[in-house]
Amino acid sequence: MSDIEAFRNDVRDWLDANCPKEMRDGAGGEENICWGGRNWKFRSDAQKLWLERMAQKGWTVPAWPKEYGGGGLEKEEVKVLKAEMRKMKMRSPLESFGIWMLGPALLKYGTHEQKAKFLPPIARGEIRWCQGYSEPNAGSDLASLQCKCEDKGDHWLVNGQKIWTSYADESDWIFALVRTDPKAAKHDGISFILIDMATKGVSTKPIKLISGKSPFCETFFDDVVVPKEHGGGVNAIVGTINRGWDVAKYLLTHEREMIGAGGGGLLGGRGIGEVAANYVGVDERGRLCDPMLRAKVAQAEVDGWAFLLTMERLKDEAKAGQGMGAKSSMLKYYGTEFNKRRFELFMDASGADGLEWEGARSEDGKLAKGWLRTKANSIEGGTSEVQLNIISKRILELPDA
């Protein structure tokens, strides 16, 4: 037996012995995610136990080094672990912006002290992070951000506003882009800073989404004092002062890969064809009763499957431990556009029933709300148009307008 097959057997045995049965229903969806954090209320004992056991093993972040709370696994091993979890329909023990975004950025740009302080609590689900990038006047043109950060000798003083900060009201810390040099060219005066949300002067105000929920906020910084060091030798700024844009961009490639992957959707969830057959029925030959819908669904399934294989291929191509750079824009673009298309088809198939917004029958408009939420996929993390700009410039090397 090859090493990897032996590893697969061990993984399977361990997972089977340790994953509570309530966590084996394959349930995805925002309401079933375990986000962790100081204020986290576990939905069940099983959710808590599952997180603790996986964190103990380092498998909430299997690819991270062991010394920072990870599993220290090789790329192939991570693939095996994920595949086995999927086969047994296991829920992810923990998801968070710390895992998806800050962690990879710290691993690349952080000092040992920063990693040692911040990574293990992310891995254990103890500290929940949010992302302070966008501002009212800095969206697609993110580098025009204005949130002010002044050097006051022993501390930084932060003043300004962020917007669309997902889960800011539930998060413990924020990683934010701030302007440390107002005189420099716009990309050159930005720093990447870590701020405890409990600090005096930080406040949040939820914004309601068209999908009904309000998971994102305006975040205000009023004379917020940020110590230069969060404890001995732990710099509050990641990377070099005024070079925060490098960190910001690198983090975005991870964010985009992750958002794009959400568009796969086919893995955990049911196929579009299966759902549609359930809603509109099949004829005597076993085909969807609505032939026009059937054609669209079949084409979408071809594209969805091709997209999943592309994620797999790009991961296989990327060197171990490295991201995929500008190619993440491609996954972000296609995956989110695909996810929107998928939900449009669900809505087409579900007809009038899918339009109910309240009540038990529709689980309080679960489908309709999910459909509306997907519309943000091609906006958050950089719009589709911005991704196409990046592909044009970075990959195709087409000139600026």
């Binding site: 057959a277 085909r287 071809v302 594209d303 673009y333 991704q387 700009n389 044009s392 195709l396």
Partner: protein, 379 residues
């Protein structure tokens, strides 16, 4: 298995590119077309392909082949897609070799595989009878007669049909058109009594023929796969052909895209290169993304053919569906973004559009394969 090429396959790709750029560039196809070449391909080139181990890419070493597997064959097909190389590679080295390897008896293997590896033979697969692909619609008759069968009927869109020495033909030994059971495959001498062939000049200047069979005698020994259950063998052979065509389409589409991206950086209007216009940038970026998806599905289908031949039929359909659709888009965008020059015969881009049109139609277009996947998935 990781969804990437091995080092060996990468090397094959590199050497193929060098060889084809030198020996069989697009201008070679143009020449065959303009000279109205009788064969429709260069026999000298076909022989050189044998020397390189290409014609026998799917043939075991014991039979003189290089036994590189389907991924290797796909790598070559993709490279030939980039140069629009005309050769019997698809008909003989992929389709016939697969039919023989997987479904023929030892005698037939002994006889034909070494000839394929040596490029001493051209073989063709004759399936379709109507405008659109549909193996189950086979109506051609194979009537029992003594120890053997008599074949009668007409085939169309037979790649390399007019130059083939042997033709593998699908005929009905039982059942009715529309049914999968009752089909059988026979290996027929193209010069046998009752076979008549018409070369059909196609839009892509590549070989195709209509072949009529009028009471052509074959024996049970000429069968490939099981009598009455030739459909399952046929699906296996077609899976190889579809994956090969997907690879070729991928190569042709990539090349058209490269030519277009280059043109965007070179052509100036309004005092700027046209590639600086966002309207074109976004379309190019979208197309790039779609082409990346095509690479993934194609490689997956080829790997499945090597690793789990019996299961590869569905990913081969996936590859053909995706590659056909995207290649069409690539060729359309290529002509549009070239403007007037894209419409000229002298410029190569039109030749890509023509080949892509034909290759996406052969053995099922995107709609056919999307429908097939839907049926397999139970809707």
């Amino acid at each position: 298995m990781p969804l990437i090429l091995t080092e060996e396959q990468e090397m094959l790709k590199e050497s193929a590119r060098g060889f084809l750029d030198e020996k069989a560039p697009v201008s070679a196809l143009r020449k065959l077309r303009d000279e109205r070449s009788e064969d429709g391909f260069s026999r000298a080139l076909w022989k050189e392909m044998a020397a390189m181990g290409w014609s026998g890419i799917l043939v075991e070493e014991a039979h003189g082949g290089s036994d590189f597997g389907f991924v290797g064959a796909g790598v070559l097909a993709e490279e030939m897609g980039r140069t629009l190389t005309a050769s019997p590679f698809l008909s003989t080295s992929i389709l016939a070799a697969t039919a023989l390897n997987k479904f023929a008896g030892d005698a037939a293997k002994q006889e034909y595989l070494p000839k394929i590896a040596a490029a001493d033979i051209v073989m063709a697969l004759a399936v379709d009878e109507g405008r659109k692909h549909g193996p189950a619609n086979t109506a051609m008759k194979a009537e029992k007669s003594g120890n053997g069968y008599k074949l009668s009927g007409s085939k169309t869109f037979v790649a390399d049909g007019h130059v083939a020495d042997r033709i593998i033909v699908a005929a009905r030994t039982a059942g009715a058109p529309g049914e999968e059971p009752g089909i059988s495959l026979f290996l027929v001498d193209a010069k046998a009594k009752g076979v008549s062939r018409e070369r059909t000049f196609m839009v892509d200047s590549r070989n195709a023929a209509r072949v009529d069979f009028d009471n052509v005698s074959v024996t049970g020994d000429d069968a490939i796969g099981e009598i009455d259950d030739g459909h399952s063998a046929l699906e296996g052979i077609l899976a190889a052909g579809r994956a090969g065509l997907a690879a070729e389409l991928s190569g042709a589409a990539q090349r058209s895209f490269e030519m277009t991206a280059d043109y965007l950086k070179e052509r100036k209007q309004f005092g700027k290169v046209i590639g600086s216009f966002q309207a074109l940038q976004h379309r190019a970026a979208h197309l790039y993304t779609e082409l990346e998806l095509v690479k993934s599905v194609t490689l997956k289908a080829l790997q499945d053919l090597d690793g789990a031949f019996g299961m590869a039929s569905v990913t081969a359909s996936l590859a053909k569906a995706k590659a056909g659709e995207v290649a069409k888009l690539a060729s359309q965008e290529a002509v549009q973004m070239h403007g007037g020059i894209g419409m000229t015969d002298e410029y190569d881009i039109g030749l890509f559009m023509k080949r892509i049109r034909v290759a996406q139609e052969m053995f099922g277009d995107s709609a056919y394969h999307a429908d097939r996947i839907a049926r397999m998935r139970g809707y």
